[in-house]
Symmetry: C2
Subunit: 194 residues, 2 copies
């Protein structure tokens, strides 16, 4: 752990900003994530974070990257190496659950137009994408993974967002899970018979 002594220099302000940002985001939504608030929370002057993040968007990208890592962990936790449609569906459910449990983070990962392509962020996105394609290829060796993987991602992603926005009535998390499972199975049985 970096020394949090009360020296002039903070020790590891970069990491402190990142964790403060995550806390602020969870507590108050995207609008509460300001560089000034982060600085305040880290006990540092308003200009200090600019030594570590070029601007607000850079911080947001870093936060999003953390979100991608967390999402990847969640998916892996749902099933380490899915190889059947049922297992793949459980991964899809985990995706939607992640979105519902961390709405602000999920929105930050996808909601804002990523103008400047932060390297870290691009890499994280690519990782998720490849991971998905790999799973699909394993679950449906006879299908065109190149085409099927994006479709499944889109289906799950859309379910996540629509539930997040309250466009789909989801009385309980279990109902959400059922809907996700049903939708995935529907799509999959089609391509499997292809």
């Amino acid at each position: 752990m970096p020394p949090t002594n009360a020296t002039y220099h903070h020790g590891d302000l970069r990491a402190a900003c990142l964790s403060s940002a995550l806390e602020l985001l969870e507590k108050g939504g995207a609008r509460a994530l300001s560089l000034r608030a982060v600085a305040r929370r880290a006990g540092v002057s308003p200009a200090a974070p600019y030594r570590h993040y070029a601007d607000r968007e850079a911080l947001v990208s870093a936060v999003a990257a953390v979100g991608y890592r967390e999402l990847a962990e969640r998916l892996a936790a749902a099933h380490p190496a899915p190889s059947t449609p049922e297992q793949l569906a459980s991964v899809g459910v985990a995706y939607v659950q992640f979105a519902l449990e961390q709405p602000a983070l999920f929105r930050m990962m996808f909601g804002e137009p990523c103008d400047r392509d932060n390297d870290e962020r691009v890499a994280a996105t690519a990782a998720v994408s490849l991971y998905l394609r790999e799973i699909v290829a394993r679950c449906f060796p006879h299908a065109d993974a190149e085409a099927l993987a994006p479709a499944i991602w889109a289906l799950v992603h859309g379910l996540a967002f629509l539930h997040l926005d309250g466009k789909l009535d989801a009385p309980t998390p279990a109902a959400v899970a059922d809907r996700v499972t049903a939708a995935i199975h529907g799509l999959l049985s089609a391509t499997a018979g292809d």
Copy 2:
């Protein structure tokens, strides 16, 4: 047209704010949509818009409602009364095209957490939802429209967002359309055989 005379009173500031907001949104993205900028563009003092919109979010909701109406028109224009999977797919393509052509507006419609449920906005959402369900029921009389419609919406919605965020490589609009069509057909043939 309301008289745009140079009187003390504007005439129809409410509508002027709304159209200014749409212009600002198209030109500079969500971040450029500020009540002050809207007031400036309407040639009015910064506090004037507050007579017509309680706060920024109220304006955003009004903008989103306009977006929903435009989207509904686009879907209807794609096919007035789709009754086959192909026709439904063309509606899905129109949905994604709308998102790609008006990214900022689309994000405004879905991207921000709708805390207070603006009536206008809720109604517009419900309209889209019902419209979709109706179409699905007509295209697939033997399927469970209650379950299928959300799945299709989610699939198309997810494709729209992922393309918007550049998560899916979409070299040309035609490629996007192909992907959307293929994905919808896949999902549909599954439920049709059900």
